[in-house]
């Protein structure tokens, strides 16, 4: 098999975050600041990544702006020709910091809104005043000349606000709106009985988004991450396992997808312990589900195997216990029906790391 160079990387600089969203894509076992890589370790990894072919980076977390060295990291990436996107919950940003990040070479900022209304944003993220703060940050970003994406993670508690999100994006002069239906792994899987919207709301949302997206062509880009629990076929997760992108965790673990560590039996490497190129090209975990050779039936003889790559390995593992199985969100999976069986709703589990709050 020929291994193409990676094009993108998602860097989770930290797991610390002042918000506590119940669908956070961080692992259930959140790490504290003392395990995060040092500035120079990140820089070494970034230079190796750029040499290997990475051209776009998504600086994420947790809340990436809690790293005081974010400017130095952005400028290292930008000096090496990597296009930098910052993915932030924004409550920690100031006007000055946005200006210095811009000077360091930041190209684009993505601000998440947990709701389109103040009450919803506070309810979901559990942070008082978050909505106003986010609005202010969006305005400062535009003032600094940064293109703005509004990221709206959608679930049962805010699915009715989708039209309000569109209005918000227009009002805040965003150039992109990401309507991203929550993916049910990790925290979201734990809380799925609270978060999974009902079928009718999902279908109403799909109709609405398709219509408004057409109406706003040339004015606002709307990217739509559809909810796969109600779909017939899975999404092409990460464009295929280890196909053209990877993830780095706060402690420097290199992964083919951000949830890959939930798969038992796969060993991953740290960029501080093994050359990044070697991990990408020859490590067992990256090669395990690369291309299509590893696929069992029904994927192996399916015409869609180069379209969706058999779906998500982490979802397959979470639901079937076998990471090589066909993603249960596929209609051909014997477990497709089981996917919609919900546990009894209990208390919603808000993510928290004990020391996170004092760090801000």
């Amino acid at each position: 098999m020929t291994v193409q160079p990676p094009l993108g990387m998602l860097v989770e600089l930290t797991h610390r975050c002042p918000l506590q969203c119940g669908y956070c894509s961080n692992p259930l076992d959140l790490m504290k600041a003392d395990r995060e890589l040092a500035t120079s370790q990140w820089q070494t990894a970034f230079v190796e990544a750029a040499d290997l072919g990475v051209r776009q980076v998504h600086l994420s977390g947790g809340e990436p702006t809690l790293r005081r060295d974010l400017e130095a990291l952005v400028s290292c990436l930008s000096d090496h020709g990597v296009y930098t996107n910052l993915i932030t919950a924004a409550v920690t940003l100031t006007r000055d910091r946005i200006a210095t990040l811009r000077e360091a070479g930041l190209e684009h900022i993505q601000v998440s809104f947990q709701g389109a209304r103040r009450e919803t944003t506070e309810l979901v993220g559990r942070y008082r005043g978050a909505h106003e703060k986010k609005r202010a940050v969006a305005a400062w970003a535009r003032e600094a000349g940064l293109p703005l994406t509004i990221n709206a993670p959608i679930h049962r508690l805010n699915i009715g606000e989708v039209p309000n999100f569109v209005a918000l994006a227009l009002e805040l002069d965003a150039e992109r709106l990401e309507i991203a239906n929550v993916q049910y792994y990790g925290w979201a899987y734990l809380n799925r009985a609270h978060l999974l919207p009902d079928y009718d709301s999902v279908m109403r949302q799909v109709d609405y988004v398709e219509r408004v997206r057409e109406d706003l062509v040339g004015r606002l880009n709307i990217d739509f991450v559809t909810p796969d629990y109600y779909a017939d076929y899975p999404k092409p997760c990460m464009g295929g396992w280890a196909a053209d992108a990877f993830v780095l965790t706060p402690d420097g673990m290199m992964l083919p997808c951000h949830a890959a560590q939930t798969i038992a039996g796969l060993d991953f490497d740290r960029v501080t312990e093994r050359p990044l190129r070697e991990i990408w090209e020859i490590s067992d975990s990256f090669n395990r589900f690369r291309d299509t050779e590893w696929m069992p039936e029904p994927c192996r003889s399916c015409a869609r195997k180069d379209v969706d790559f058999g779906g998500c390995r982490c979802q397959a593992f979470a639901i079937t216990g076998d990471a090589a199985a066909t993603d249960p969100s596929c209609i051909h999976s014997p477990l497709h029906g089981a996917l919609r069986q919900m546990p009894e709703p209990g208390e919603i589990r808000h993510r928290a790391i004990t020391r996170a709050v004092e760090k801000i």
């Binding site: 160079p5 094009l7 993108g8 072919g53 051209r55 776009q56 998504h58 020709g81 296009y83 996107n85 190209e107 684009h108 993505q110 000349g145 940064l146 293109p147 994406t149 994006a169 227009l170 002069d173 965003a174 150039e175 992109r176 062509v217 040339g218 004015r219 606002l220 880009n221 990217d223």
Partner: protein, 107 residues
């Protein structure tokens, strides 16, 4: 967001917004465009068009120049460029020099 959708005409003077970067990827030996959360791989002709989008040349001028370079009929080239730039403008990857658009619209 744009207050209205832009219609690309031969008189428009297109340019790339500052955050849309056209480069040559040495490793892959091909032009590359980097934009917010997006990577595009323009072919040779598309890259040639984009390189001429400097905010001062009009689409008609760009078409004339490329017609010379590729020894092709200018009308055909202009039609292709208009379609290409309309598509890129609709994805907010191309701006037009607005001062010019306003003055043209008035005249």
């Amino acid at each position: 967001m744009r207050p209205e959708r832009i219609t690309i005409t031969p008189q428009c003077r297109p340019c790339l917004p500052r955050h849309v970067r056209l480069r040559f990827d040495d490793l892959r030996g091909t032009p590359i465009v980097l934009a917010p959360e997006k990577v595009l791989w323009p072919d040779e002709i598309s890259a040639a068009i984009l390189r001429l989008c400097d905010g001062t040349s009009s689409v008609a001028e760009i078409a004339a120049e490329l017609a010379r370079t590729y020894a092709a009929p200018v009308e055909e080239i202009e039609t292709d460029i208009l379609a290409f730039l309309q598509d890129w403008s609709d994805r907010l990857l191309i701006n037009v020099n607005t001062d010019h658009r306003v003055s043209k619209a008035r005249s």
